[in-house]
Point group: C2
Chain length 187, copies 2
């Protein structure tokens, strides 16, 4: 699973990611150049290209890493999608969106769309993992996970856009029953 790597590679990639994240705090994504990143990371510009195809690939990795680090242990090891686990996933999504928009200057909607779809993908993967432990029947799990994750994400994103300041309890009360009912065997 874990591939051991040359420490130089790990360090260089880490430097690139850190520099990129720092740049994102003050410069819009579209305005960041590879030269900027390379300079800040004290690496040669050509070296950047041995690690990332372009800055979009770098953004992908940064988003993915940040999201993965925010997933609570309980969710990772969850054996079933209980109400509690559901709540945690919803809150995770909410915290991620808030964090992301707090620390990054996203300009064009195209970038926001990239980020969106990636988070949705990770959510889906997370939920799929849990459901496949819970359910014997593997047939519809992908579909259930897709529905559930997009439901959670879209609701949370709306919540973020409309009511930035309010507590998330109400969000939970809206989304939780929605997805729990959807996943229940009754339907």
């Amino acid at each position: 699973m874990e591939k051991q790597q040359d420490p130089r590679v790990l360090r260089t990639r880490q430097l690139i990611r850190e520099s990129f994240i720092e740049l994102l705090q003050s410069i819009q994504f579209e305005s960041i150049t590879i030269k900027d990143i390379a300079q800040k990371a004290t690496i040669n510009r050509a070296t950047f290209y041995t690690h990332y195809e372009d800055k979009y690939a770098l953004l992908d990795e940064v988003i993915e890493q940040a999201f993965k680090e925010m997933i609570p242990e309980q969710v990772i090891h969850a054996e079933a999608l209980t109400e509690e686990i559901g709540d945690q996933i919803i809150l995770l999504t909410y915290r991620y969106i808030v964090d992301f928009h707090q620390t990054c200057r996203l300009d064009s909607k195209s970038i926001a769309t990239l980020v969106d779809s990636q988070i949705k993908g990770m959510l889906q993967k997370t939920i799929e993992d849990i459901l496949s432990k819970e359910k014997e029947n593997h047939q519809y799990i992908e579909i259930l996970a897709a529905i559930t994750s997009s439901a959670i994400y879209s609701a949370t994103y709306q919540w973020f856009r409309l009511e930035k300041n309010s507590h998330a309890d109400l969000l939970l009360d809206i989304v939780r029953p929605y997805i729990m009912r959807g996943l229940s065997k009754q339907l």
Copy 2:
């Protein structure tokens, strides 16, 4: 004067110095191993030896760099050792000693001795540079610089050991007339 370097070298040396300084905050110098430094700097232990002969050489460089960065511009460009410049040098010495003992855990006296002699050397060099701009006669400058620098250092160090908390104004009032009279042509 300034030699341009491979950025990898600069970065590695920087990493080593930073790691070493951080380690010094919590671990006594004698207890720090090359392995510790290499690990913290995320470099290979063998790489350490391509840059520094041992940890004493590293300590030397760190001390020298820190001291140089603390020298005020006015002192660097001083054309004569006036009372004002003298005061600045005394205060510089005091600040350096305080800083150094605040951030580093020095254990054995042998280390303190190393540090002492190096600071004295740098002080001497600084004063010699100023005096050689001021005086036509170059004959005794080295000796005057040696006397003056060691006077300043020893007085300041005593002051630091005995009256850590008190303001340095009194120190100035003691040392300034001492060295100014010593350097005056009257004697």
